[in-house]
Amino acid sequence: MQTPKTYRSSFVLLLTVLVIALGINISLGSVSIPFSETLHSVFGGTLDNTAWDYIIWNYRVPKAFTAILVGAGLSLSGLLMQTLFRNPLAGPFVLGISSGASLGAAFLIMGSATLSSLFGFSLVTDVSLAIVSSIGSFLVLLAVITVASKVKDTMALLIIGLMFGSISAAIVSVLSYFTDAQKLQQFVYWSFGSVGNLSWHQLGLLFVILIIGIVLGILSIKPLNALLLGENYAKSLGVNLVRSRYLIIIATGLLAGGVTAFAGPIAFIGLAVPHLTRQIFNTTEHRVLVPAVLVYGAILMLICDTIAQLPSSAEVLPINAITSILGAPVVIWLLVRKRKMVF
């Protein structure tokens, strides 16, 4: 157990890295803008080159903040899942939550074609997409929880989560088969994952959803610590199991569902960041882990986004691929180095 003071210095270091990552992320992009000019613009100055100003304030800054929110949200939801199921493999993807969000998005984008022709306007808006994706992830999560109360074996539970994921994927393929090319393309682009398409308005909405999720997460820190001993011990420590479980599930649904709705299904972050954090901080205390995963997730996502946008080229790689390519080896390396999974 480290003393609070060393935790404080770790956090100061982490926040410094976050600021540096943010700076690098904003200063790099398809158009090369000198670093000094970027700094000048970010700190409120106006640039002579108004195009640069526009790029920074309407493209790069919202994108960087989206990356921060996405990384933080997914990481926290992964931590909550891993502790709730007391399983190091749990994460928004493995338990089918992201598939649920995809299913919701697929129904809205592809299934709404007939409905919108009926109403005469498109039902696919940011808000409706966010709501439907969140509902999708909630439904899958609820289904997994319902089964979880009957199945005691956590490995079985993971397989059930994967099965729900497969079912969602199958329904999505059926929907894709019957949909027209334009709608399909819209959905495929959504499923690549992207942090670059959010306006300030959408960013605000995502921020509100995530703040609610994070607050619920912080409120469940104490039951989360008790759950490290198992449910029966937690109960004997006075934890209201039913209430805590719902609190954690709602928080996860908001975090993972909200992120997936706005940025698409982004793999790996939710699973990996809690492990990286536990390895580096060497603790299971959620009072440390919850803030730490938020910052770690944000840093990792900023780095992934910086790579995905391929500095000084016009191409942007799917962020979903980068998170896995960059993140998976890091986790493998950490596990090999420590020779075991700390959970």
């Binding site: 004997s236 420590l237 006075g238 009072r287």
Partner: protein, 210 residues
Amino acid sequence: MLRTLGNAQPDLGGCLAVKGKPIVSYAPLELSAEISMVLTEPIASKNLSVLELVALGRQPYTNWLGTLTDTDKQKIKDAISSLELDELQHKKCYELSDGQLQRVMVARAFAQDTSIILLDEPTTHLDLYHKIQILKLLRSIAHTTQKTVVFTTHEIEMAIQLCDKMVLLDGKNNYFGQPCELIEQKAFESLFPSDTVSFDPKTGSFRITK
């Protein structure tokens, strides 16, 4: 039965009361200040340090974030030293032997500072020395702090030597009383088939029938 006593499992019938109030009508938090438990199931995360694990025993008394007050820290320190864990307190649980881990779990229950401590087979998987060590510690806790310590066990001979009172459940006849009373009532003779094991009332131990 022990799990029912600790409200971890619904009762089959009858009524259980702590301080005159049925345990089913206690709120979880209220009950956690009266009864602490050591269960047979392994803890989910072995990555907790001994200190962190024992500190979890203070959860019923801490605020919404689980901040430890000076009183809490003192109770944790007391629990750790009375279970002789001072040298292990910064170790992680996966570094401990089964016997050490069991002592940590008892320390956690002790730190919870309840009038009743329930233990479900605290001696399983331990060798003879550690079995006796745990049971002697439990006995001294019960006698020095006036707590009620209830545990289930298959170690009948040790229980006869160490316990103040015993409940004997063999399916048909159930007995309750001080060990020597039960010996006088010949409660142990019928516990096992006599062609395999017989009970020697003089030494309070079982003999293999040859």
